[in-house]
Homo-oligomer: 157 residues x 2
DNA sequence: TCCTTTGTTTAATATGTTTTAAACTATTTT
DNA sequence: AAAATAGTTTAAAACATATTAAACAAAGGA
C-alpha cells in the first residue's frame, strides 16, 4: 500500500505547484493526510527521505496555515503531528489571507491616484481614469467574492 | 501623471506575486493596460528600464495568455502591442487551463490507486481509502467549479 | 543596396528559493 | 546525572528562475 501512498504524495506535489507551494510542504501534508495515526518529525523525515531541518521548517509553515496540528500522546513529552483534513478550508483561508494583505497594500495607492487625478483632469487623461475605475471595480468584486465565498460555495453544490 | 502610472504598475507587480507571476510580465501588462495607445517593444523597454530581451520574452508569454495582442499600424511593418482589458477573463482562463492540466495528471493516479486497493481491502487500509474517496470528491468539486464558474460569477453579482 | 534601427534567441550572470549539514538546545532513557 | 535521542536554528550548498548582454536575424530608411 506504500506504493499507492507514494503515488498520491507525488500527485499532491504536482497540484501544490499550481498554488506556488514547495515540494516539502506538499509531501509532508499529504503523508499526514493519508496516515492512520499522527506521526513524529523523525518518522516523517525517514519516510520522505528528507533532512530533519527541512521537516522542522515546513512543519512550522503548515502549522501556521492550520494545515497541520500537534497531537499530545500521554506519557510522551513531544508532539506528534496530524493533518487538518479539511483541504478546502485550508486553501481558502490561505487564499483569503494572502489576497487581503495584497489588497490592503493596493487600496491606498488607488485612493492616492484618484485624489491626484481629480485635481487636473484633462481629456488626455480621461481614458487613464476610466481604466483606474475599472480596476477599482475589479477590486470590489474580488472583495465581494472573498466575503461571500462560503455562501457561494454552498449554493454551488 | 506618470507618477500615478508608476504607482499602479508597482501595485500590479505586488498583486501579480500572489498569482506567481514575475515582475516583468506584470509591469508590461500594467503599462499597456494603462496606456492610451498601443506601444512598441522599444517604448516598453525604455519606459520600464528593462532590457529588450526581457521585453521580448515576456511579451510572448503575455500573448500566449491572451493578455496582450498585436496591433498593426498601416505603413509600419512591425506590430505594436495592446492589453486585453478583460482582466477577469485572463486570470480565469489561465487558472482553468493550469488546473485542468494538473488534474489530468492526477486523475489516472487516483484511478490506479483505487484499482490496486479494491483487490485487497483490509481494515487497516479502510481509513486510507476513505481519504482517497475524499480527495476524489474534492477533485469533482473543483471540476464542477471550473465548468460552472461563469454562471456562478453571474449569480454572485 | 548598404547602413541603421528594431526585435529575437541564447549563453552568462544575477537573484531568489529550497534543502541540507552541522552546531546548538531540549527531552528522554538508563 | 550522563548518555542517547529528538528537534530547532543557522550558515552553506544546491537548485531554480529571472534578467541581461551580446550575437544574430529581420525590417526600414537612406
Amino acid at each position: 500500500m506504500e506504493k499507492a501512498r507514494d503515488m498520491l504524495i507525488e500527485a499532491a506535489v504536482n497540484l501544490g505547484e499550481s498554488l506556488g507551494l514547495n515540494r516539502a510542504v506538499c509531501q509532508i501534508y499529504a503523508l499526514l493526510y493519508l496516515s492512520n495515526a499522527p506521526l513524529s518529525p523523525t518518522e516523517i523525515g525517514k519516510t520522505l527521505e528528507m533532512s530533519k531541518g527541512n521537516v522542522s521548517i515546513n512543519l512550522r509553515t503548515l502549522e501556521q496555515w492550520n494545515a497541520v496540528r500537534k497531537v499530545w500522546k500521554k506519557g510522551y513529552g513531544r508532539p506528534l503531528y496530524t493533518a487538518n483534513e479539511n483541504i478546502e478550508e485550508i486553501i481558502f483561508d490561505k487564499l483569503k489571507t494572502g489576497m487581503e494583505k495584497r489588497l490592503n497594500y493596493v487600496k491606498p495607492i488607488m485612493k492616492q491616484v484618484r485624489k491626484d487625478g481629480d485635481k487636473k483632469l484633462s481629456s488626455k487623461n480621461e481614458k487613464f481614469f476610466i481604466r483606474v475605475n475599472k480596476i477599482e471595480k475589479l477590486i470590489e468584486k474580488i472583495e465581494f467574492f472573498l466575503r461571500n465565498f462560503e455562501t457561494i460555495r454552498t449554493i454551488a453544490k
